[in-house]
């Protein structure tokens, strides 16, 4: 009844990675803002979320930095309103007997990766640490097994995902294996930027603020009981994905602290200066010629408004 439908294109399957979204939907936080909260599930082969945004099929997208810059270079005036995981879950997993804990540990390692662009990230880490050295990138799939089997020395992972697989095998983090966040290696790029088109934000500012407020409330609520969002994912929003409750609770628990940066105004907030200091060099390495400027790319004012009104 008079709710404005707003669609979020998810970059991944509807699991506990979006615990706060489920809580917000379930508790009616969106409805309270006059918003009908809709979402489209993603997956490894689903069309990119930014494509959906460009095609007008979504209003918000859980994007990624380099594709976002590419999309902007192609005439899409997309902006970042905040980051779902200001501390990125991107991490590197290694085994207990050959831990990768510092940039120097990367040198000479065979690194299992699912994405070709990972090379740029690793190079940035080495450059920033001033280490001259090389590593070998080994293509791999969804399974962290090759790491276990010794096909590689380290595995590019999501801290909220593959480590749980190892835990479920009875391996103990910190002993049998290690998870090192990229932010701890100096690559402090905030993860999962929330993207929308500038025109949309300008025309619907109140709604955008309402959207962010609802989402923030969902995540804050989930922080009180990470099992809640996980249960919602398993039983309702991701019911057709056969999710495992224990694993999802663990994922929700691991993800929850990542929604805020170490020092910041609150959840989703990140330091725009990172755009020029960390994102720009990686973007340049990826072949993006346009200058990457924070005040063109980032507009945190709606987020600040939402945070202030909480």
């Amino acid at each position: 009844q008079g709710l404005t439908p707003l669609t979020t294109a998810l970059g991944w399957i509807p699991n506990a990675e979006y615990a706060g979204l489920w809580v917000a939907l379930e508790r009616g936080y969106f409805a309270q803002e006059g918003i009908e909260g809709l979402y489209t599930p993603g997956g490894p082969n689903a069309p990119g979320v930014l494509v959906q945004l460009a095609a007008g099929q979504a209003d918000f997208a859980g994007g990624d930095w380099v594709p976002l810059l590419e999309a902007r270079a192609r005439g899409n005036d997309f902006i970042v309103l905040g980051c779902n995981f200001p501390t990125s879950p991107a991490a590197i997993m290694s085994m207990g007997d050959a831990p990768v804990l510092t940039p120097a540990d990367l040198v000479g390692k065979r690194i299992l990766s699912q994405l070709p662009a990972d090379a740029n990230t690793l190079n940035f880490v080495l450059d920033k640490a001033g280490i001259a050295g090389d590593f070998e990138l080994v293509a791999t799939g969804f399974s962290p097994e090759p790491l276990l089997a010794g096909d590689g020395d380290a595995y590019m992972a999501y801290a909220t995902n593959q480590p749980i697989t190892f835990e479920n095998m009875g391996l103990v983090e910190g002993k049998d294996f290690h998870v090192t966040l990229f932010s701890d290696l100096g690559y402090t790029v905030p993860g999962a930027p929330i993207v929308a088109s500038r025109a949309f934000v300008q025309e619907n500012r109140a709604l955008v603020v309402g959207y962010l407020r609802a989402l923030l409330r969902g995540w804050i609520e989930n922080g009180k009981d990470p099992a809640f969002g996980a249960t919602l994912a398993v039983e309702k929003y991701g019911a057709d994905f056969g999710l495992d409750l224990d694993q999802q609770i663990r994922q929700s628990t691991l993800g929850q602290p990542l929604i805020s940066a170490k020092e910041g105004l609150g959840p989703f907030w990140f330091d725009p200066a990172l755009v020029e200091s960390v994102i720009a060099p990686v973007a340049a390495a990826s072949g993006i010629e346009q200058p990457v400027l924070a005040d063109e790319l980032v507009d945190l004012t709606p987020l600040q408004e939402a945070l202030a009104s909480l």
Binding site: I13, G43, A46, N161, T165, D240
Partner: protein, 262 residues
Amino acid sequence: MAGLTSLPTRLRRLKRSCAQRAPALIGIGLFCLAWQLIGSYRLAGLTWPPLSVVIGYLVDPDHHRLLTRAASTTLRAVALGYLIGAGIGLFLALAVRLFRPARAGIDTFVALIHVTPAIALAPVFMILMHRDAIPVAICALAVTYLIYVAATSGLDGAKRHHIDLFAVMGARPWQRFWLLERPTALPAIASGLKLAIPVAFMGTIVGEWFGAARGLGLLMVSGMQNFQIPMLWAAVLLTTLTSLVLYALMGLVERAVERRFA
């Protein structure tokens, strides 16, 4: 007399048909055993679970709702895509047979559509249709190609002396098609329809990865990403079993057609 012989004859037929099925059953049995052993001894790694674990997942009542919802969604998409694809494939094969100048162009076109990687077309699909229709569309594309190739090859298979016969009878192209080429092609088309069963499942599953709301393909993706290996293989096994049953049914059709037309 006929009434007296029919019962023993029927029994003999039954026995024979059981005897014919036996090797297939033994085959499946051996395969299951191999699956179990490779899984138990981790001969093929962690992503190959023992069969018993997969079956355990399948029979667990906690999973029934999930599995039936997924399977019925996938099956519906497979059925729809298969019918649409077979229809279009047969129609195109017929069309180029009756209007020969179109043959080369359609050949190239069908091959082109088929081989254009679905991943590249994902945005196009997304704009053209609802996400839940994408599995049907990709399934139909794959089936169309297969049936088109099988049917055109079959239609090309008429013997020269039969073609000559139709020429001297003054047959029109469509009569030659209907009375000669169609019966000649039926065995190949039947083979194509049989082979199209697993292809239709594959197409649908891949299509589901483009963001469908539910289906066996989603369970596979989800199982992979969360390392729920038993669920992954339960979805695969369910797909395979359904496909196997339908394949066997089409095999019967194929045999009947071969007996009748070869």
